[in-house]
């Protein structure tokens, strides 16, 4: 999320680049996006912090891509934003991408905001570390905020090397007081501390090597910088969490093997967070039945497991059993369901997403989040009453 001063700089940069690029190559750009009203209904009435049992929100995204300088360069914008009726922390604009890239034959140079995804898993993306998580959108951390960076990439027959320097650290966004689900206490934005003396001005560093060897997709990465995940310390006088961002040094490995209808996936990290070292591994399998019962439908089964040697980590011995049904019809009907099971405490939660195109530029999404049995000691106990259904309709333009 962008502060106002930086936002105005970015906006003027966009206006400048649009004015200067589009008249020259009028056909050399693409612009598209969507706007999506959403409504949620919670099944258990009011929340434990008094949050309402319904919520309205408007979400949107816009993408602009233009090739410049005889297609040797690309300028892209990807902006998303939300206006949420109940939660102030979900009223934001974020430049997911606002970047200029220049392509040499084997080299690529990039400057600006980008989203960098590392990893292979469907659920437990432990290697993915470059971008800050937007927990206000999704407590599982799959939604990210744009990260300002300069990067250089070199590709050769034996693989690709990427080097990143990152600035403009963004604090993790959490649901606010009226957000639902939310943590048991609010996050105090005024008491943020850093292990690094440079605080949020610290320049973070990352490097990655990735390659494809027949059916293997392989990646090895290292990150050194402010941890994207703060430690949250309860403050007994303010009754809020005080966030502390340690310095993280994390090495990650991700491998996928694709053998016919089988996908085998593994991610692993070894990390030093502050003074403590930890290890985590997550992986699984995915198998797809194609053309089930002589229809065009595909049914995929996903099983993933995560281990973390930190006993206090919410995901330390957890599994996911997922189903993906793809009707392959004219409406692109799909249904995805995942049952998240805490194997040390037998808590479980079900998440499901249904989507179907209504017309060429309208699409319906229905998301379910259902809490089953949840142990009092489990991290997700604080969201126990937050089972909900969300209906979204996206209008594309």
């Amino acid at each position: 999320m962008i502060k106002i001063s930086a936002k105005s700089i970015y906006l003027s940069l966009i206006v400048y680049l649009i004015l200067n690029s589009s008249p020259i190559h009028a056909s050399d750009y693409k612009a598209y996006g969507f706007i999506q009203p959403e409504m949620s209904v919670f099944f258990n009435g009011k929340g434990r912090h008094g949050q309402k049992n319904t919520n309205l929100s408007i979400f949107g995204k816009g993408t602009f891509i233009s090739y410049l300088q005889n297609d040797d360069a690309k300028f892209s914008i990807n902006i998303l934003g939300r206006y949420d009726d109940n939660d102030r922390e979900l009223r934001y604009l974020d430049f997911q991408k606002l970047k200029y890239e220049y392509f040499f034959d084997d080299l690529e140079f990039k400057i600006g905001n980008d989203i960098i995804f590392w990893g292979v898993n469907e659920t437990f993306n432990i290697v993915d570390i470059v971008n800050q998580s937007n927990l206000a959108e999704d407590l599982a951390g799959t939604k990210k905020l744009g990260q300002t960076m300069a990067s250089l990439s070199y590709s050769h027959d034996y693989g690709k090397f990427d080097i990143y320097l990152m600035s403009n650290f963004q604090e993790r966004s959490f649901p606010g007081k009226n957000g639902r689900p939310r943590l048991s206490m609010e996050i105090d934005k005024n008491t943020v501390t850093y292990e690094s003396s440079a605080k949020d001005k610290k320049v973070d560093f990352a490097i990655r090597y990735s390659t494809v060897l027949d059916d293997l997709d392989f990646g090895l990465s290292h990150f050194y910088g402010n941890n994207r995940a703060p430690e949250l310390k309860p403050n007994s006088s303010t009754l809020k969490f005080d966030p502390l961002y340690p310095i993280l040094s994390q090495t990650g490995l991700d491998i996928q093997s694709t053998k016919g209808s089988w996908l085998y996936k593994l991610e692993s990290i070894s990390a030093k967070n502050g003074n403590e070292r930890h290890f985590s591994a997550a992986g699984g399998i995915e198998y797809t039945f194609y053309g089930i019962q002589n229809t065009q439908s595909d049914l995929g089964i996903i099983i993933e497991y995560i281990f973390d040697d930190r006993n206090n980590n919410p995901l330390n011995n957890d599994g996911v059993l997922g189903l993906r049904w793809n009707r392959n019809d004219i409406k692109s009907t799909t249904f995805l369901a995942g049952l998240l099971i805490d194997l040390s405490g037998n808590s479980n939660r079900l998440q499901a997403e249904f989507e179907q195109r209504i017309t060429d530029d309208l699409k319906l999404f229905v998301d379910f989040s259902l809490n089953g049995n949840i142990n009092r000691a489990d991290f997700s106990y604080q969201f126990k009453e937050d089972s909900k259904i969300t209906v979204k309709i996206a209008k594309y333009f």
């Binding site: 690529e108 016919g260 194609y290 195109r357 060429d360």
Partner: protein, 262 residues
């Protein structure tokens, strides 16, 4: 007179040669010659429009654009990029394929909503492409290496004498058991009937709007696909097709996908 006798001898020799071939060998030869006549395009770019028509006559439109890179390796397949433009909710999606002759392809999909490139299983070559009546398998349906062939004779089609060829897929995950096709004297496929895994007639692809590209290669710019089981029709059109445009093979690698996406 001498040259007349000479020509006569050649005709006799050719006929003897053809007679000496089995129907399988003759079918393979025609299929191979037909396929070889479409090679040498080096690379290509095109826009593609699909009109999906249901039995009630309702139409929806799909738009993609494509890039292809010819693989000179006689034992391997071409590389392709598909950029999805319509329907609008898939705009920005890009699919990279490294095709293989009788094995699963290597495929990567960039999904803008997730912002990630996924290596996907390609065992579904026979699945519906974007909800249409055409499958990924059909795009390489003229590659003779993917089938066993049999010559069935000649048949008149639209006032032209065509070779009638039967073919059986070698690929274990093929959606078909058999195809029966007509190939004309210019070695252009005119129509192919497809039989499903149960052996029933599934669909017919009519190859239309044949155009001679770069004065050497015939391509059908329209595939009309009629499904005989559900009565759906797909009209698949190529527009602005250009060959030998000077594309770089490196653009067809996973590591280059970020150059082509948002």
């Amino acid at each position: 007179m001498k040259s007349y006798i000479f020509s006569f001898l050649i005709i006799v020799i050719c006929n003897v040669h053809t007679f000496a071939m089995s129907d399988e060998e003759k079918g393979l030869k025609i299929a191979k010659d037909a396929y070889d006549s479409t090679r040498g395009y080096v690379d290509s770019t095109s826009e593609q429009i699909m009109i999906l028509i249901d039995p009630k006559g309702n139409e929806v439109i799909r738009e993609i654009s494509g890039k292809n890179f010819e693989n000179m390796d006689p034992n391997d397949g071409d590389k392709s990029l598909i950029f999805f433009n319509k329907p609008k909710d898939v705009e920005g999606t890009v699919m990279l394929s490294h095709t293989h002759v009788n094995d699963d392809d290597d495929q990567w999909l960039y999904l803008p909503a997730l912002g990630r490139v996924k290596r996907i299983s390609s065992s579904n070559k026979s699945g519906a492409f974007m909800g249409s009546e055409i499958s990924f398998e059909d795009f390489s349906g003229l590659d003779y290496r993917k089938y066993d062939w049999k010559y069935l004779g000649e048949e008149n089609y639209e006032n032209e004498i065509c070779y009638k060829l039967e073919s059986y897929p070698k690929y274990k995950n093929s959606g078909y058991t058999k195809r029966i096709g007509l190939t004309d004297q210019l070695l252009r496929a005119r129509k192919i009937e497809y039989y499903d895994r149960k052996g029933d007639l599934l669909k017919t692809i009519y190859f239309e709007d044949h155009k001679l590209y770069n004065e050497s290669i015939w391509f059908a710019d329209t595939f009309k696909v009629v499904n005989h089981q559900n009565d759906n029709i797909t009209i698949y059109k190529w527009e602005n097709r250009l060959l030998n445009t000077g594309l770089n093979e490196k653009d067809f690698e996973k590591s280059s996908l970020s150059r082509l996406t948002d």
